[in-house]
Amino acid sequence: MDALRTAITPITHNLPGPIRDLGVSIIGDTCYKALLLDVDLENTACLKLAISKGLGIGIVGASSVVKVPQIIKLVKSQSASGVSFLSYLLETSSYLISLAYNVRNAFPFSTYGETALVLGQNVIITVLVLNYSGRASMAALFVAALATCVVTLFSQSILDMQQLRYLQAGAGVLGVASKVPQILAIWQQGGTGQLSAYTVSWRHSTVLS
C-alpha cells in the first residue's frame, strides 16, 4: 500500500489544472484531497462516493445514445409500425415528472441525468412516430403540450413541491403498473413470445431506471 502511495502521489500532485478541477467538481474538495492527494483508500466514505459518481456518470453516458438505434430504424424505414405512441407518451410523461422532481430538489446530476437524455430522445421518437403515421398536426400539438408541461412542472408558483411529490409518486406507480401486464402475459403464454429480450428491455427498463 505504501509503495503504491509513493508511486502514485507524484502523479496526482501534478495533475494538469483542468483535470484537477474536474475531479474536484465531481467528488468535492475533501474527497479529492483524501483519495487523490493523500491516496487514502481506507477512507470508505469517499471511496463509496467516488464509485457512486463513476457508476452514475456511466449510466448517464450510456443513456445518451440508448434510443439512437430506434431513431435510426424509424428514419430508415420511414414507418411507425410496431412502435406504440401511447407507451412512449406514458414513458415521456413519467420521465418529465422525475426530471422536474430531481432538478427542483437539486439532487446531483449524476444520479438522474439519464432522465433528461432519454426524455430528449423519446421526444424525437414520438414526433417521428406521429409524423410517419400521418398525424403531423398531432406532432405539433404534442410539442406544444410538452412545452406547457415543462413550464408547469418547473415553476414553483404554478406547482408547489408537495404537488410535485404526489406527481412523482404517481409516476412511480405508473412505472410499476406498466410492467405488471408484461410479466403476467409472459407467465400466461408460458414464453416470451414475440417479445424479444430487446423489446422487453426497451419498453420496461426505463420508466424507473
Binding site: 463509496k48 462516493l49 457512486s52 459518481k53 457508476l55 452514475g56 456511466g58 449510466i59 450510456a62 438505434p69 422525475s98 422532481y101 430531481n102 430538489n105 439532487f107 446531483p108 449524476s110 444520479t111 438522474y112 411529490r165 412523482q168 409518486a169 409516476a171 412511480g172 412505472g175 410499476v176 410492467k179 405488471v180 408484461q182 410479466i183 409472459i186 407467465w187 408460458g190 414464453g191 416470451t192 413470445g193 414475440q194 424479444s196 429480450a197 430487446y198 423489446t199 422487453v200 428491455s201 420496461h204 427498463s205 426505463t206 420508466v207 424507473l208 431506471s209
Partner: protein, 85 residues
C-alpha cells in the same frame, strides 16, 4: 434486459449514496424488483420456441446477450428429459 437490470441495481446504490429521498429510492427498488422478475422470465423461457421468434433475431444484434443462452440451456432441456423418465 440484463443491462437494464444492472442499471436499476446501480441506481439503487447511487441513490442510497447521494440522494436522501425515499420517494426516488422506492421507485428504483420497485423498478429493480420488476426488472428482476422480467429477467428471470427471459432466462427461464429463453429456448421456448415461438411463432414470432423472427422479431427476436431482428433486434438481437443491438443487445448481444451471449452468456444467458448458455446458462439457460440446461433449464429448458430439463423438463423434456424428466418427462421421458
Amino acid at each position: 434486459m440484463f443491462n437494464y437490470l444492472l442499471g436499476s441495481l446501480t441506481r439503487i446504490f447511487t441513490t442510497l449514496q447521494e440522494v436522501d429521498d425515499k420517494l426516488i429510492l422506492y421507485g428504483f427498488i420497485a423498478g429493480f424488483a420488476l426488472n428482476a422478475v422480467l429477467a428471470l422470465q427471459m432466462v427461464y423461457y429463453w429456448n421456448t420456441p415461438s411463432a414470432k421468434a423472427k422479431g427476436k433475431q431482428k433486434a438481437a444484434p443491438i443487445q448481444a446477450p451471449s452468456s444467458p443462452t448458455t446458462t439457460s440451456t440446461p433449464k429448458s432441456k430439463g423438463p423434456t428429459t424428466r418427462r421421458r423418465g
